[in-house]
């Protein structure tokens, strides 16, 4: 089947799913509950974004008034949520086809596509303006870049076209520590760039582990995730390669003397576990190892950033 007919069939199936939801008369325009709007903001993704942004802010040298720090975090959260809402507007057709995303407000017929787009655009512009006027314009510019990257580069351009979608698109999720840092200092330096690199390199093994056991979902929706396009074996190999690249990147802030030995030692141990899981995925064939890797990868990233936070709080530096 050609790519064009594959995509056409997928779109017809997705639109039929949406028509069915709206046809059931679940709701029409302006009939959503506040909780439905909140669901558009992808609150679970938002929590990790806010946490990494907070770490960037805490590690930055200098002082920011607590009110402005809270404002910056709020803007990061709302900006990330807004890009999630626009993503749900654009991807409503494929969300209706995947079991992981069928429960989202648009496929459920709780919010119309137009409402989601309007909501996302207002919050995007609002979060960037408040960040610029209230905190500083460097942080606002990086926030705008993050939203634009997620919406235009990842969602609209890469997601449906290439298995490298989450490799390049992962940059969108990696910007928050830079935004947090810039909110305090008004500029950037090496450490926030390394924090960006850590999240950027972490994203492919994290999402490919998920894609391994959700590949039927992605295939049904016509999303060219690596397991769908290149197969299970190649995906397992790529997870191992990216994991091998990730571990040295996570150790680089310590190797360069930017953070202390607590981070260095604990990150080496966590990296060993991450690599062991990646090897297990590479050597196995079932879903079990991939599910373990996906679950651990979230904890792993959280712990790396929590270590930075703890070390800073204890005043332990290299």
């Amino acid at each position: 089947m050609s790519d064009a007919s594959f995509i056409s069939q997928r779109n017809e199936a997705g639109n039929a799913g949406l028509d069915a939801a709206y046809g059931q008369g679940l709701t029409g325009a302006g009939e959503a509950r506040p909780a439905d709007y909140l669901a558009l903001l992808k609150p679970r993704v938002m929590s990790l974004v806010v946490f990494t942004g907070l770490v960037g802010m805490v590690l930055a040298p200098g002082h920011l008034h607590p009110t402005l720090a809270l404002t910056a975090l709020l803007c990061i959260a709302i900006g990330a949520g807004a890009s999630g809402a626009i993503n749900m507007w654009y991807d409503a057709d494929i969300d209706a086809l995947m079991s992981r995303t069928q429960g989202r407000p648009i496929p459920q017929g709780k919010i119309t596509k137009d409402e989601a787009l309007g909501f996302g655009c207002v919050l995007s512009v609002g979060s960037v303006l408040v960040m610029g006027l209230g905190v500083n314009w460097v942080a606002a510019a990086i926030l705008a870049l993050t939203i634009g990257f997620y919406v235009f580069i990842y969602t609209m351009w890469l997601k449906r076209r290439t298995p490298q979608n989450i490799v390049i698109g992962g940059a969108a999720g990696a910007f928050p520590p830079m935004i947090g840092w810039a909110a305090v200092t008004g500029d950037l330096s090496l450490l926030p760039v390394l924090l960006f690199a850590i999240i950027f390199m972490w994203t492919p093994p994290h999402f490919w582990a998920l894609a391994l056991y959700r590949s039927d979902d992605y295939a049904r929706a016509g999303v060219p995730m690596l397991p769908v396009v290149a197969g299970d074996r190649e995906t397992r190999r790529q997870i191992l390669i990216y994991s091998l690249l990730l571990v040295p990147v996570t150790l680089s802030p310590w190797a360069l003397g930017l953070v202390g030995p607590l981070y260095g030692g604990a990150t080496a141990a966590l990296g060993a576990i991450f690599l062991a899981l990646a090897v297990r995925i590479w050597r196995s064939t079932g879903d079990r190892a991939a599910k373990h890797m996906f679950g651990f990868s979230i904890l792993y990233l959280f712990l790396l950033f929590a270590l930075l936070l703890a070390e800073h709080g204890l005043g332990w530096r290299a």
Partner: protein, 41 residues
Amino acid sequence: MSEHDENKRRRARNIALAAVLFGLVALFYAITIARMGGGGS
């Protein structure tokens, strides 16, 4: 959807919108005070 249910949803949305608007007023006030005190970077 029944009229009662529709009214309940509308009321919930109105309350949420009012909370957001009051929240924004409080936020802008707090930002102004912080910046006037030289708290910006």
